[in-house]
Symmetry: C2
Subunit: 226 residues, 2 copies
């Protein structure tokens, strides 16, 4: 099997980063299988955005898996009693969802096994979101071990690769890369509390980082604000 | 905080192994937070068994999280089009659920973060189920790294411990240990295709291993067969 026909599962949230990540996976010659997880997040408009992004970027398939993370809570994104802050705070933000990337990568791994893919793409970023423990390179490397040891493929000698191509890029660099690859960012939703129509609040951490990214990139911000 | 008051999340399927694992966690002085995952498995009677087991063994709490693994499929346990085999085959069985233990441990990790526990118990066994890649000691060790690197606790210097106390025990030894600790195995359901009343089929891999375990242990099998 040549690189050109390799399949990859791409975690696709509907946000700017994962859209760029999906475009990068395709540019590297993978058939992209876009996976979104409906984990009860506040920003459900992101899931509809994920569907639009997957279609626009020519994903081979798009799957949404339902997972009731609200039963576990512990984050402003999954517990309605914790508010999304309007100001950035110190340390790990309350928007951190406990073990989210471990769980998302686990689900990606399951689908990868079913479609016989050995590659997973995740749009984590250690620069702008350095407060999230599960966005760090050491975490990604550790998960690659888990993926290779805990799967049928691993036993058969096909180790998994976890690609995190955005991990060291600034938001502006991600936006430039996405533009270069033809990503239509107007389809994406980053806001932690977007309304049903996908319009952003302009105030949460995710909105701020996104807006600053477009400013730093010198590109007009296509985000629809309410 | 002393060992006696430490909390641990214990993955509790309702089967014989995880019931013994839960009893062992309590014997080691942990307050046990039992976690079951409703992932669309055929043997839904196991979830009701999990609730009975958690109550009987004095778990501090029991939580069931819903996860739609049927959307991913790839296993006789999550895809209705794949039959549970009546005979043991070669290699990795079709009852293997892709990446199941990675996902289950990820969910346990999320809850552990919320309740501020640093310990997780999982009743995997590398002896009887050696066909499952995600039951091997190397996999558990790799996940311990992921857990420590990918969490708030890890950043704050409280590494996670993944306990797999059954991993090298025979089924007979697990049964002896469970009996010693007062586990009522008549409450547990192991069968891959138990009926609604929790009665076992006697024929699937899980039934065979369980029956042989009671025979080898010299203990009357309390399983209700249909």
């Amino acid at each position: 099997m040549t690189e050109a026909t390799n399949k990859a599962v791409v975690l696709t949230s509907g946000g700017l980063d994962s859209a760029t990540c999906l475009a990068m996976a395709k540019t590297r010659g993978y058939r992209a299988y876009a996976l979104s997880v409906d984990y009860g997040q506040r920003h459900r408009a992101e899931l509809r955005a994920a569907q639009r992004v997957a279609a626009a970027l020519g994903a081979a398939a798009h799957k949404v898996v339902h997972l009731e993370l609200t039963a576990i809570g512990g984050s402003a994104l999954t517990d309605p009693q914790i508010s999304v802050p309007a100001e950035a705070g110190e340390g790990i933000p309350v928007t951190y969802v406990p073990a989210r990337n471990t769980i998302l990568l686990g689900l990606a791994l399951a689908w990868a096994e079913v479609i016989e893919a050995s590659d997973i793409f995740i749009g984590v970023n250690a620069v702008d979101y350095s407060g999230y423990p599960d966005c760090r390179p050491a975490f990604i490397a550790a998960f690659e071990q888990v993926a290779s040891l805990g799967t049928r493929a691993g036993i058969e000698g096909r180790p998994f690769r976890i690609h995190a191509p955005l991990i060291k890029l600034s938001k502006a660099a991600i936006i430039h890369e996405g533009m270069r690859l033809g990503v239509d960012f107007s389809l994406t939703v980053s806001c932690y509390q977007a309304d049903e129509a996908g319009r952003a609040c302009r105030r949460c951490d995710a909105c701020r980082l996104r807006r600053w990214g477009f400013e730093a990139a010198g590109i007009a911000d296509p985000t629809r604000y309410r």
